[in-house]
Symmetry: C2
């Protein structure tokens, strides 16, 4: 037995955290097998916010006293349930919103200026003396942003440098320089490009429905850098196949990793593997907040970035 | 015989111009066979600026009195040779520099944030629970721009919205807010990302040499939205293969269309089929200038946008 507190990392893609955590903690990795023998030692559960919280496991860890969410978003975590158990939750806000906004603009450019498909065309020999690809200029396109938080504002700032006209919608008013649409549907109707940048929770699951996608229309582009669950993914695929939606460029999916067969015959779509916020600087910032929250917890000090 | 002036379109990818030109002119298409029977009728040659001017053909067209270059760049046209023959040349400046700059940023994002390769990874099933792609944040990267003309300045404006630090080099000083490096080599050494945005001519053929690419280095990214000839393409390919250059993202090539086999085993490169300036708005602007130059020419008025 050791005197060091024990930490359980839940998701395999968080494995690189082990090396840092092991400097101060005993580390268990859930995917290496349930930590039955250490159930009484585990004090901290480290999770990715997009993954559903394993409540049954938590109920078998009698000394667990903190859920440390590595990411900014914590849509997989039932905060009310944790609150009932006096189980605090920390997360990593305000660290990578600039990087996510960069990626959103990269997705817009990759789709609208046909950079991803152009790269495929050149590599496949599809560029010939007879072909000439003409794309739509970004200048003057109307950009609608769903959710004017840190990410949404950073997207708006960048969009203006590309001569796009910005408006937005979200459930709460903001003191912002860009006009707020009367409704999500009105925003979709008025926009050439719609960027989903809101926080995901149970209130907005499937918010981007077939109706919204059809309002965006056959020349429209949907970009999602929020969470897969905010978009009705089956409706999105159907709309792209029928042409009732023009294009999509998405970094997040209902199930991650997404099944490539799901996208094999879907036209006009750019897909990235949930990398919008995963930058060296962003990950370092998230790691620093994680370590600071753990240190504060064991020192009996206020948590650095609690959710509740 | 007709009384309408005859126009010869030289490059096959300019074929869509035929419909517009036929409203006022008799149109010949060079790729349908040399216009031997019309040699005395042809008054105008419409060319793409990147293609080498067919001087031998021009000498067989006794009544040719204007070279109308559809594009902004006219690097394929020997202006001195035309001047000796009192043969005016028009082009289409200032029409699509914003679109070219948009595309340059799209290439930077596609390469640095791995959007093109991420799209391939998702489609091929390479995204698994074990993989996690971490990319470098654009924030704080040092962007060097070669050529601070319309395109270069538009790239600089956008780069600032992405929190990049901009400097530049060009043979002539400019009154600009961004610092000018002492030399191209100094710019390459100081930069994380180098964007080639200069006008191409005989003075800068092969300007981006092996030495410049190695100064940019194993973490560096080269972006070319100028002309293929400004970069030593063999040296570029060798540098990417050896790792002495980190990444490249290029829209222009020594030979266009480029041979895909040339790039099949070249790592860390994004390729687009010369689409940076080819937007609907840009092409309309170029078409309008072309028609205005032809009208002015036949009305005996000053040319709208002459090169010389």
């Amino acid at each position: 037995m050791t005197q060091r507190p024990a930490v359980l990392i839940m998701q395999r893609h968080l494995a690189p955290l082990s090396g840092f955590l092991e400097s101060a903690y005993d580390v268990y990795r859930f995917w290496e097998g349930p930590p039955i023998e250490a159930a009484h030692d585990i004090r901290i559960m480290v999770v990715a916010g997009e993954a559903a919280l394993d409540k049954a496991l938590i109920e078998r860890l009698p000394n667990l006293d903190l859920i440390a969410c590595f990411t900014s978003g914590y849509d997989g975590i039932d905060i009310g349930w944790c609150r009932e158990r006096d189980l605090p939750v920390t997360h990593a806000p305000g660290v990578n919103h600039e990087d996510v906004a960069d990626h959103a603009l990269g997705l817009i450019l990759a789709a609208r200026r046909q950079i991803a498909s152009g790269d495929r065309q050149v590599r496949s020999g599809g560029w010939t003396a007879e072909t000439r690809t003409i794309t739509a200029s970004l200048g003057g396109q109307k950009l609608g942003i769903i959710g004017l938080g840190h990410i949404g504002k950073a997207v708006a700032d960048r969009a203006e440098a590309f001569r796009m006209a910005v408006s937005w919608w979200g459930p709460r008013p903001h003191d912002a320089e860009w006009p707020r649409a009367d409704s999500l549907l009105a925003l979709a109707k008025a926009s050439d490009i719609l960027v989903v940048a809101c926080k995901a929770d149970e209130t907005n699951r499937g918010l981007i429905s077939r109706e919204i996608l059809e309002a965006l229309g056959p020349d429209g582009l949907l970009v999602n850098v929020s969470r897969g669950q905010v978009v009705d993914e089956d409706a999105l695929i159907a709309a792209l196949k029928s042409g009732s939606l023009g294009q999509a460029a998405i970094d997040v999916f209902i199930e991650e990793p997404t099944d490539p067969n799901r996208w094999a015959d879907v036209p006009n779509v750019v897909l990235t593997p949930h990398t919008a916020g995963a930058t060296t600087a962003g990950v370092q910032g998230m790691l620093m907040l994680l370590m600071q929250n753990l240190q504060a917890h064991f020192a009996g000090e206020p948590l650095k970035t609690p959710v509740v």
